[in-house]
Assembly symmetry: C2
Homo-oligomer: 235 residues x 2
């Protein structure tokens, strides 16, 4: 092997952050990308990330590199998958990829705080998950996998926690699901499934307005958010 300077792989971490941005055209999933300033793939867009430091754990490295590149600090990051194909980079790199859901108001508040302190991140731009630019490395494949996981394997509780305020109606939750899945859902079926999931707790409060009052729900904090089971006991 002459193409690497080392006899083994280097470990990097990257993070996929999804938020839901609502505008006049409806709501859509967005994620932040960082423009690379050096080779390989100089000037291409890439997931926020960086090298694992020898003195930090994987979770800590993901949080640090995300904060350094984007200024974002989600309340939790979940490990998604380790990518380690031999040819994914000119040198041998294994990337441990994390992901998180972040509410738009949290994104706005965190970025406003950075702007106020004059340390707004450079080279970051938010993209529609369905209209990504050319990406560095295998990051297009990584984002496709993260979207698939989000669309197939993320339950009511996690979506509610990650993308909705503390209290929400079932219609709010359904609209978030519809944005993620890109299709309409039957309201009665959705209500039945959401109520049967055991992950949402009805409150005694209702939202009133032009329609009939809609009950507000909150998510059940007893349900494992990151679904790490016994790993959750780790420091």
């Amino acid at each position: 092997m002459t193409r690497t300077s080392s006899s083994s792989a280097r470990v990097a971490v990257s993070t996929v952050i999804f938020t839901l941005r609502a505008d006049a055209d409806g709501a859509g999933l967005m994620l932040p990308l960082v423009r690379r300033t050096r080779d390989p793939y100089a000037a291409r867009w890439a997931l926020p990330g960086g090298w694992l430091d020898v003195a930090e754990g994987l979770d800590a490295a993901a949080s640090r590199t995300l904060a350094e590149t984007t200024g974002l600090a989600p309340s939790y990051l979940e490990q998604l998958y380790a990518f380690g194909d031999v040819d994914r980079s000119p040198t041998r790199v294994v990337s441990i990829v994390y992901w998180a859901l972040l509410r738009q108001d949290e994104v706005d508040a965190q970025l406003a705080a950075h702007a106020e302190h004059g340390d707004a991140p450079d080279n970051v731009q938010w993209f529609d998950a369905d209209a990504l630019p050319d990406l560095a490395f295998d990051h297009a494949q990584i984002i496709a996998y993260a979207l698939w996981r989000l669309r197939n394997k993320v339950g009511y509780s996690r979506i509610a926690h990650g993308l909705l305020p503390d209290e929400f109606t079932l219609a709010d939750l359904r609209e978030v699901y519809e944005s993620i899945l890109g299709r309409r859902l039957d309201p009665a079926n959705f209500r039945r499934q959401a109520e049967a999931s055991g992950t949402l707790i009805p409150t005694e409060r209702f939202r009133t307005g032009s329609h009939r009052p809609a009950r507000l729900y909150r998510y059940n904090r007893d349900v494992e958010l990151a679904e790490r089971g016994p790993l959750s006991a780790s420091p």
Copy 2:
């Protein structure tokens, strides 16, 4: 950092293989462990594994190191989680952990073939998942996480494929679930859930015997076995 010989982490792979061994006392989950022959943790039991070679992908490294240490070759290995706490080893090691389910008859056939060729693996022993010896590194935590995933997140199709023959009755499938979960399940509820899962296909064949004929099912091969979504398209 003086305690590591390198300025970065080294990448290892390890694999947790579950099989279901039935005997007079019932059925139980078993897994193979390898006795370490050198420090750290010399003479302790550890998961089968080894170092990632710079010229091989993660999946290939998992298959190779599993075959080298145990002689086993599952039809698929699924990535479970990357473990990278700073203090999990005297030097800095990130372990990409894989797992698989293997039927007892597959284990027996593979080990018999090795014995016939005089290359039976050394230092390997199968342990009851509920009665493990003292383990090296954080391997007890890794196995606890794998058991939690198996008990909580593995669907009917995967269990059927991994631990049952090609055709099986719903009673066979329920017995496997009962062994994994360590508790009895209501037959009528189990039947309803399994039939509604969309992952089992009823055949027109029945098992006859002392009870009334029981329909044989096979698993639906269209369901993603390893649940990797778009990653399944990778070579």
